[in-house]
Symmetry: D2
Subunit: 325 residues, 4 copies
């Protein structure tokens, strides 16, 4: 009996601590852990290796994933999944832990249906947009990176009557932008989940500027780029032309995915990995996702995770309501 | 009707964002917020001031508390509490929000019994040792400061066969040391909550050193200083003489109380303050503490908070069990 | 006799420590220091205030400038300069210390010629592009902010075969991008000062990718945005289409101007301010700029500073030569 | 012809970037670089390895030294040095670059005299106490780590009338403590280089406290621990008993040696390594130390480095003079 771990799709901080705990905890249970490199691509290509203590030493504080990740088109085809299955058999691996998003979980669910390979998925994405779990690995680190950038921008904006638009990640989900706006004291927050009226916001800002406001910090989710008037460039233009203030954009991009994992992400990584291993060792059949809600870890089916779109909780949206008026 | 905020006892990161949200939220409700400086001492001395937007602008990213804190012996005496009450009356303040620990809450409870001044306590201490709440404001920031120090120490310890003992805060509670040990990959963790056998630990370390281990990171809670053999100096001596490795101590001290508040502490601060104000405005009588459990905010009585000693949850202790063997 | 300080043009980290040292050092010399808010605009508007210890307490670790800055068109006109002069006379101020760039120095030089107001300019710009000085205040902090972002990006780029283009500030000068590329181990560095051959670079990158390279970090100076093929968007397109690797941009923008000043910037700020005050107190006539070369502070004329365009020293360009081949 | 690098004595940030540049630059010159692990101990034990690109990839941002360091008593004996020499001969290595302090340089100088092995020493110690060079690798990173700790301590000290004593490294040299005190706005600085009068300082502090001062930050060099009255514990006692203010100590210890190297240390590392290699390749006989003065790199003899004790420059001591009165 052997168990392997892989990381799939977009990487995030927290993956390395989870891999380390996976290896340490397997050893403490006298089970041989394996590492699959380059995600599902490496599974197909047989890039699989017995893990040792040395492989994971001093890895806790590295961002990203040291076993690398990928997006795999080949894995959609049965013939490649069959090759992947044969690769696992060569090493006697019959259980998988996967760190990734819902797309990766669905891929492994098909694999489970094809060949009966048990797995547990650990939700890992800085977008925090997986239905059924309050928390996805990597979110806390991403938020703190955005915070540091926003704090720096505010220093300088306050020095020089000026606005700044900060674009965070989040294609379909404004979670990162929303929490950043609340916690960094932004004046404007534009996310797909909230309707807004630029005229109303503009009127508020102009009045505040007249009353002595020295700067404006505006946080916008990347996902808003599809909307002409409220993507980053559109907002810069609007602030300069309509509101009438010198404005500059900051696009954080992949900076948000890296960075030394925070304590919260390290602790969640340890707990996610420990519970996932306990579950997969206990159950005869396992194609589940571990989720975290109300301070507790639970296991749900892939179907449940896919059944709905993630929605930001109302209380959080309420905290930002004044930023869109 | 007016409402005031004060900070009392040991300060922590997160107090400033809570004060800022207190002021902003009061204004959005058209209530006049007041700031009491220097904690209960300032309440006695009448150091009370109407808050304005300017008072709290750009305060989100400051560590500590900008309205300062104190420990007050005078407040134990009725005559000083009476003066304090008269100070509040002068400003028409009949409601208080207090950020502090259980001692501060008890003091205000007496004040409530004496004069009927409503209050809500927000648990704020990096020790995370208040019964009835999973989280106290400031803990996440303190943990991340310890993490950065520990990551730096591990770099250098790994460069030079050497041990390091890091002493964290925590007089009666090993929470900070425990979580730090788990999340920073320490080899040894000494906290009051765990029994340990130094001989056993020493045997493990010596074997690991023989097998190629290059360094040892040992995290110890300040509270263990009362025990001769396992305080910081005792551990340094033991590592050098018994385990046989050059060792150096790091005592973080008050560094842990300061620092730019993390996103988690800022968000908790916003939510604690918002719920506390809503509660105190709704209730006719209010001498409660707001607590956070299973992702929800609730209100409990002072008596409940004082009824038991805080205990670290078992699952967390289990994650560290291998560090004391 | 009184002396005032102002900050002008683009702000940078290091200005606050300089202002603090200005105030502290004046007091130690029994001279009354004044603060002029909002740069030359505030000089015209009479926004001038006696400085006290309290004004500058705890200001050392703030980014930007707490007395704010501006760009002033009005100061080009004699009539406004005359108003500014009269404002200074009201307070008995006959000496100015100005933190800014060469444009600001020229403005004060005209003021000196008009009314004989002595001044010393302290070169302050993260672009490090002032002729005659090896160092301008703010550069070290900006470089370390870029470093942290680049380190984070590399973590994630290494996790997922991917390229990242990081755009740094620097309109006419590639100093920030150059030093960042050298010190962060970038694979490509595009700055105005270096000629490059994209075909050659592309060939190198493709070969390295074939040989196992997992990621590409490319640093580009904002100033290159004027050139179609090598601005940030052009590079992203080229990496994706020609080199054939998924690519994402990071535009740091004003994040680089803010942030807690580094030790180097704080120390330079202290020394710049101290020497500038000593000079202006000693000389009867003073319209100079303080410069730092070969570890020594000197004073040069405005004309000298304006006589040539700043050029990055050859040894530094040589260190990056392999990044453009 | 082959060339090897080793790190010796106390490690510091900046060693890894120097090792990386050593390897990259050797390859660009078509010379085979070698890595010697564990310092002089590894040289005796034959722990020598051909370097590859992979060995140094992604190493720029690691603190400490990835080839590890040691202090070697055996190397004082001719017979062990002979073994070391034979180890080098096996690999055809006739040139060494050593990162360390003056003790390590003397050891290699004896080796040079015994067997004619050329070497260049690169001054590397956070104490910055090597005669003949203004800068030693690692100092800037150590200073910025102390700065972050001190900034955090000041936040909390300002929240709660309290003093804090921060002990920095520096056995015989107060450089770290001095620069930290100047740049972090400390109220007291105790270093071996400055004479002080505790009574006088105490009088000043008491007066300032009476006038409203809310906190005291005191920075002390570790080297002062030999003096009973002014070591860390002595100062805590004095502040509490004589000055009359609650006080807490922070002992940073080895935290100062680790941490992600700053841009300045990375750039100095690149330049030190490049110049050192150029020198050793050019000269037939080379037993020199590379030093950095007035923005230029030069080569001096071991004898010169050993001829005097390093002294902090007067201008720097002057900046702190008011902290000891």
């Amino acid at each position: 009996m052997a168990i392997a771990i892989l990381t799939s799709g977009g990487d995030c901080a927290g993956m390395n601590p989870a891999i380390k705990q996976f290896v340490d905890y397997c050893f403490s249970k006298n089970i041989q852990p394996y590492l699959i490199y380059d995600g599902l691509e490496g599974l197909i290509d047989g890039d699989i290796k017995k893990a040792s203590y040395e492989d994971v030493a001093g890895m806790m504080h590295q961002g990203g994933t040291m076993i690398r990740s990928s997006r795999s088109k080949r894995f959609f085809e049965y013939e490649y999944r069959k090759i992947a299955y044969e690769n696992l058999q060569k090493h006697g691996i019959d259980k998988l832990i996967i760190l990734g998003g819902d797309g990766s979980f669905r891929a492994l669910d098909q694999f489970y249906k094809d060949f009966g390979v048990n797995f547990v998925g650990i939700p890992s994405t800085i977008d925090n947009d997986i239905f059924g779990t309050e928390y996805c690995l990597g979110v806390d680190t991403a938020l703190n990176i955005i915070r540091e950038a926003t704090d720096a921008v505010r220093d300088t904006s306050a020095s020089f009557k000026r606005a700044c638009v900060i674009e965070t990640m989040g294609r379909d989900c404004g979670y990162l932008a929303l929490v950043s706006a609340i916690t960094c004291g932004a004046e404007v927050c534009i996310i797909p989940e909230l309707e807004y009226d630029l005229d109303k916001i503009g009127k508020r800002l102009k009045e505040e500027l007249k009353n002595g406001r020295k700067y404006i910090v505006c946080i916008v989710a990347e996902g808003c780029n599809s909307q002409v008037c409220t993507n980053t460039n559109g907002l810069v233009k609007w602030l300069e032309e309509d509101v009438g203030i010198e404005t500059r954009a900051t696009i954080l991009g992949h900076v948000q995915r890296g960075g030394n994992p925070t304590v919260y992400d390290r602790l969640m990584a340890s707990e996610f990995a420990t519970y996932a291993i306990d579950k997969i060792l206990d159950d005869e059949k396992c194609n589940h996702v571990i989720v975290y809600n109300k301070s507790e870890f639970q296991f749900v089916s892939i179907d449940y995770v896919n059944s709905q779109k993630y929605e930001i909780k109302k209380e959080l949206l309420d905290l930002a309501r004044r930023l869109i008026n």
